[in-house]
């Protein structure tokens, strides 16, 4: 039987990891992910998480240990944030190119400099081309459900790729919400044990893993890796559907839509700011403004077809990015959406916004302003080539 509890995002992630029965965990604490490591070590000490656990001296070693462990064919889990993710970039890229289905929560935190510890998905979004699957979630229940599903997606035979389930530092990691925790039996029925079939370091079946490889063969690896990313589009939707059947909760698969059916305008974003967008959309709807939300859950693989479909027939859209894409004048998500539409030959008026960096609050007032501004931009038939900055007015002393 499942039970209901009040959990912060980090505890929701830790419960998801525990219920997924990882065989090896290696982690290094970093704000705001630190409590995940504390919860897991406590579960381990209490006997409810019977795995091999290593408290390492750096994130570089955390990912290196999991790379090694995964090469022996076992299920692996870790979590990190920002500078820790940056430090593990070298083994991070390699985990995906070795096709190792490691699951890692990323508790999104802004990148230094200036010195900061607060939220923002710049850390993981910058690494969108490192070959991992990346899913962004909006609340604590979605953290738990998606992290369990992540093992199923990553380990499925047609995918075999590592996966990040990314959630906002502090806004989710340290805020408590009602969360339903499934029972171990229910999760076991959903998630069978993992054993590697494609790559293994085992004296019983000696194999050279990753010898020097010529470019032609390397390109074949890359092509198959890209195909696996596309296969993940299906695997994510399948896992969501099966999860919904067993647990009664669907998160929409690669995207989620809110009040989009008769919408003229769509607001597009990812992560916890989607909560504020829902509120503001309800307010706008009450005033007769036909606006809806397109939430991107899977940034990698990018859900091109479903984005095109969701925007079909709309007047235009606005994107709120809590990140920057240096050199492009806009955020990363705006670039991705525009690129997807170009491939469909579609040309929509579009507004680009950057805000909420470094944990800065995106208040309902600011988000409502972004919706208003989107409608003006779209009605004027413009396409932004430069983002508008969403900032709070400075407080008078």
């Amino acid at each position: 039987m499942s039970r209901v509890d009040v959990l912060n995002g980090n505890l929701a992630a830790a419960h998801a990891a525990r219920l997924s029965r990882p065989e090896v965990i290696a982690a290094y604490p970093i704000t705001p992910q630190t409590p995940v490591v504390e919860y897991l070590t406590q579960f381990h000490a209490d006997g409810s998480l019977p795995c091999q656990m290593s408290e390492v001296e750096s994130e570089h070693s955390a990912m290196s240990i999991l790379t090694g462990a995964s090469l022996t064919g076992v299920r692996c889990y870790t979590a990190t944030s920002s500078q820790g993710l940056a430090l593990m970039y070298e083994p991070y890229f390699r985990a995906s190119t070795l096709r190792l289905p490691i699951v890692m929560n990323i508790v999104n935190r802004e990148m230094i400099s200036p010195q900061t510890v607060w939220g923002g998905p710049q850390d993981s979004m910058t690494l969108r081309d490192a070959g991992w699957l990346q899913i962004y979630v909006e609340d604590n229940q979605e953290i738990l459900d998606t992290t369990i599903q992540a093992f199923k997606v990553a380990e499925s035979a047609e995918v075999l790729l590592p996966i990040n389930v990314c959630y906002d530092g502090f806004y989710l990691s340290h805020m408590t919400e009602r969360v339903e925790i499934p029972s171990q039996e229910e999760v076991d029925a959903f998630l069978p044990p993992y054993r590697s079939r494609h790559i293994i370091l085992d004296p019983e079946t000696p194999m050279a893993v990753d010898p020097l490889t010529n470019g032609r063969l390397l390109m074949e690896y890359r092509r198959k890796h890209m195909a696996a990313q596309q296969a993940a589009l299906v695997a994510i939707e399948k896992a969501d559907a099966e999860y919904a059947r067993r647990f009664g909760r669907s998160w929409g698969g690669v995207i989620d839509e809110y009040r989009t059916e008769d919408a003229e305008y769509l607001m597009v974003s990812l992560g916890s700011v989607c909560g504020a967008l829902r509120e503001c959309i309800d307010d706008a709807r009450a005033r007769g403004v036909r606006v809806g939300l397109l939430k991107i859950r899977s940034l990698r693989p990018f859900p091109r077809a479903r984005v095109i479909e969701a925007l079909a027939g709309k007047k235009g859209f606005g994107v709120i990015d809590r990140n920057v894409s240096f050199g492009t004048n806009t955020g990363i998500l705006f670039q991705e959406i525009r690129a997807a539409l170009y491939s469909a030959g579609s040309r929509y008026p579009a507004a680009s916004f950057i805000g909420g960096l470094g944990g800065e609050d995106l208040t309902l007032e600011i988000v409502a302003g972004a919706i208003k501004s989107t409608i003006e931009t779209v009605d004027a038939g413009k396409i932004d080539n430069e983002a508008s900055w969403l900032v709070r007015p400075e407080r008078k002393a």
Partner: protein
């Protein structure tokens, strides 16, 4: 069974035809070590000479008969720690071994290695120290000797230059992690090396570390048939003493009561050709100082009268 019996009866675990330089004593060392370790071994060969000559493999071919892989330059110890945890999770036992150059050990790989040592991850870490980045044309490492020419510590026409700092005493740094087993070894003392690999294999818990000093023919400017003679001189001059330590109980395994002058060793090596008397005297002084320190530790460990000495 003597070391020579062991080597005569064990199967070579490295493929024939790997492309090491003629006379390379690292290849000899690797084949020796793997014969002792045997087939129930998972082998990490980070980027370096042994990776470059094909021990991991090329395309779809393997260079070893045991499972073998390339770690990154800097994560041999942590990848092996993960392999150990994975084997534990599966209820399996095997030798989990790194055979890594000094760059992958004393420079880029030090943090991961020190972390694994402190945690007590059960791995055997073997460093083949040829004093620098040899497979890319000999750039300096923190294991390069003072005064040595390297491609990044060049020597002027007048003979000045070479590396300004002396090599860090890495095996002692590892011993100060209070490991169950740390040893130094040389390709000129194969029975000693065989015994040390066997002792590393006997370790039940924690990391075993062996540091092998491998003079590099092409990088150092040594004739290929001088390879073993010069390796022996490095020990007989006390420049690279052979010892082993269980925790802090350190003992010499090859005692050198009457050392040859360091000059006799240095003069045989091309990379030191520009050193004048004064600079060689400096190397002699460093060698004497380091050896006295080890002698004191050896005395504390029981010296020549200690059991097993």
């Amino acid at each position: 069974m003597t070391a020579l019996d062991t080597l005569a009866t064990r199967e070579d675990q490295i493929s024939p035809g790997i492309s090491a330089c003629v006379g390379c004593n690292v290849e000899l060392t690797l084949r020796t070590v793997l014969k002792v370790l045997g087939p129930n071994t998972i082998l990490a060969i980070p980027p370096g000479c042994m990776g470059g000559v094909g021990v991991v493999g090329w395309d779809k071919m393997s260079g070893a008969k045991v499972p073998v892989f390339f770690p990154l330059l800097d994560n041999s110890a942590s990848m092996l720690a993960g392999i150990r945890l994975g084997l534990k999770a599966r209820g399996r036992e095997a030798n989990v071994v790194a055979f890594a150059g000094d760059g992958a050990t004393v420079d880029a790989g030090f943090q991961a290695l020190s972390g694994a040592a402190e945690r007590g991850d059960k791995i055997i870490y073997i460093c083949y120290d040829n004093e620098g980045y040899m497979n890319t044309g000999y750039q300096r490492s923190s294991s390069t000797s003072k005064g040595s020419w390297t491609s990044t510590t060049p020597v002027s026409k007048e003979g000045s230059g070479g590396k300004p700092q002396h090599r860090k005493d890495f095996p002692l740094i590892m011993a100060m992690h209070d490991l169950p087993y740390v040893a130094t070894a040389s390709p000129a003392y194969i029975p000693d090396l065989v015994k040390k690999v066997e002792r590393a294999m006997e370790v039940k818990e924690g990391l075993a570390y062996i540091h092998i000093y491998n003079p590099c023919l092409t990088g150092w400017g040594i004739k290929s048939d001088d390879s073993i003679a010069i390796s022996r001189l490095s020990v007989q001059s006390r420049f690279f003493p052979l010892w082993e330590a269980h925790g802090r109980r350190l003992q010499f395994t090859v005692r050198v009561p009457k050392p040859v002058p360091v000059a006799d060793y240095v003069r045989r090596i091309g990379k030191f050709r520009h050193l004048d008397e004064a600079r060689i005297a400096e190397l002699q002084a460093i060698t004497d100082e380091r050896y006295s320190f080890l002698e004191a530790m050896d005395r504390m460990g029981g010296g020549a009268n200690a059991p097993g000495a």
